[in-house]
Symmetry: C2
Subunit: 405 residues, 2 copies
Amino acid sequence: MVNIAVMGYGTVGSGVVEVINTNGAIINKRAGNEINVKYVLDIRDFPGDPIQEKIVHDVDVIINDPDVQIVVEVMGGIEPAYTFVKRCLEAGKSVATSNKALVAKHGAELLSIARDRDINFLFEASVGGGIPIIRALNSCITADEIEEITGILNGTTNYMLTKMFYEGADYDEVLKEAQDNGYAERNPEADVEGYDACRKIAILSSLISGQQVDFEDIYTEGITKITKKDMMYAKAMDMTIKLLASSKRHDDHLHAIVAPALLGREHPLYNVNGVFNAVFVHGNVLGDAMFYGSGAGKLPTASAVVADVVDEAKHLHRNIMTMWDEEKLSLLPIEDTCKRFFVRVRGTAEERKAEIEEAFGPVQIISIPELKDEFGFVTSTMTEREYQKNAEKFADIIHMIRVED
Amino acid sequence: MVNIAVMGYGTVGSGVVEVINTNGAIINKRAGNEINVKYVLDIRDFPGDPIQEKIVHDVDVIINDPDVQIVVEVMGGIEPAYTFVKRCLEAGKSVATSNKALVAKHGAELLSIARDRDINFLFEASVGGGIPIIRALNSCITADEIEEITGILNGTTNYMLTKMFYEGADYDEVLKEAQDNGYAERNPEADVEGYDACRKIAILSSLISGQQVDFEDIYTEGITKITKKDMMYAKAMDMTIKLLASSKRHDDHLHAIVAPALLGREHPLYNVNGVFNAVFVHGNVLGDAMFYGSGAGKLPTASAVVADVVDEAKHLHRNIMTMWDEEKLSLLPIEDTCKRFFVRVRGTAEERKAEIEEAFGPVQIISIPELKDEFGFVTSTMTEREYQKNAEKFADIIHMIRVED
């Protein structure tokens, strides 16, 4: 029997217990051992709930019990999660977590403690919910240099952008609706400003580079400025707008960015709608691959956490996770990256095309019949530096959105 | 150093050598050991090619060399591959293969030999080329009961159906074009009759059920009867036609089938076009997931084979693959499975709707203005047995295609 402790009995924690109860027989068969939930750590009590008999309020009960071999951390946030996880690892217990903030900030250190003790620190659920993208990078796509990872990593914003695209709704409407039906939090900042996606792409970037990518270094732009009018232009171009979190290799450098982007129909991420997440991967021999699934939600997230528990039960005294060094990776500055840019300006194309092309070079004009006093254009490929330099000449740029080619 | 031997220096075999040469540094890091190609078995010689110094013509050189720990089998076909692989495993060497025919027929036995010897028999490349679907089922989605796997598992037919859908071309035209540009073989039977997809879904069905699913038991219908007119109806219904290979759980039974199916836009496989493959998976706690990538081709297939080699190098004396028993699984007979059916008949809907609804119950009529002397209808959900019984009353059914809901 392998005894586990679950730290945090919120949505994901109760999901973990539910998944183990529901699929116990097949999970035990795959783990080659019986998985038993011995403790659940929570500050609350759950009188009347069968979980109550396993509830403990003191993390030391878990840390000091030599029978506990695996600890699930699903409390979220940096503290006390970081202190608890570190102490568990130092006590020789493998840890499985869904905590992206913890992994993005302290992943390198926690992986290194686990490796030193021949145990495991796994975090499949921290990126892409139920999509097995961490395991895909760690144990599946092992013959390739990964040249690109681009993902739709936040379900809330993808739900909102999908509604805006298909229903022509405006940002404030869909945010309110998403909040009303529980897809967005009352304080939606972490989602709509791109902070959540940023931590996730930092984790993926660290994994593929083998070095620490600090999320603070990643240029991050949310969806708060995307409007109904932007979506009208997207449709006119037969494109859509998605919040992409992306990490691309340029020679020896990685370029990481979180920002809304215009995507064409032929892009594998074009059709990823609603609360679904997906991750596109390009390997130098594999070519293109994509992984798609539920990026959040109680049971999909718990499914990923329990898959980590199964792996840890199968490898109780054997480290299986790719490390990344604590040494920090310098990302390619955004100014040096190349893209096409979609830009909306005031006036009409007839009046202004010459002036715009003088600054930006040849552009493709997009006019929307319903929008009389503005139009859009798409530049050819240039660096962000060139774009910014050219854009400074125009005081009336309404909005710029990058184009993902 | 881990010495490997490659049996077969055809497209995939030379790809394996190329991938190891190209990405050697990162592959060795992930394997935790240097991977060295010691022998290449082929009946041919390759004078002037650097590979020549590794060429051997006698499999016994490989089997009798205790330094060879991993053997890659990429010859294809049942014999002599089966005999060679079995002898390698019995000699204590792990085997990685891309050979779907071998795995579908002898997988259970070869897995059992590997388990008895604490070595591995891996076959990631046998299904879905570079898509890591075998590893996803074996080591990623381990907390779930898999309730459905539905895949586009054959790139040749998907290329043809994509051309027929988007370009309105007819079957013979696209087959000829696919043959001319190397996407289809001169004898295309294995692809267009669905035999290739059938072996692949047999492997996936065996893996998720843990028992032997014989490919001969799977109802298999190819794409040879799909016409330009069928695609016109699909478009009119805002659907497309794909060759689906599917395995679904109904209570304690699996139902497996390979057949063309009408798919709606909201289905994750709708947009899988060209030579790409994809596998849709539904887990009881994970929900929906999809894996997408290059289903064939020299380097994507070699990428999957080399990933198996990396896993085998990491687990030289430890069996990591889920077994399936040799005991045969009885599939749910196709007659007992339920679907909606799209049917084309002669005449006009006005004249014939009453007669059709008397037999099939309420139907949805689809008429195509260009097709004056025929029309189509979609039944409500019924068993194949009921459909067949009703269809017997009509001598003039032009074509029936199942609808995937």
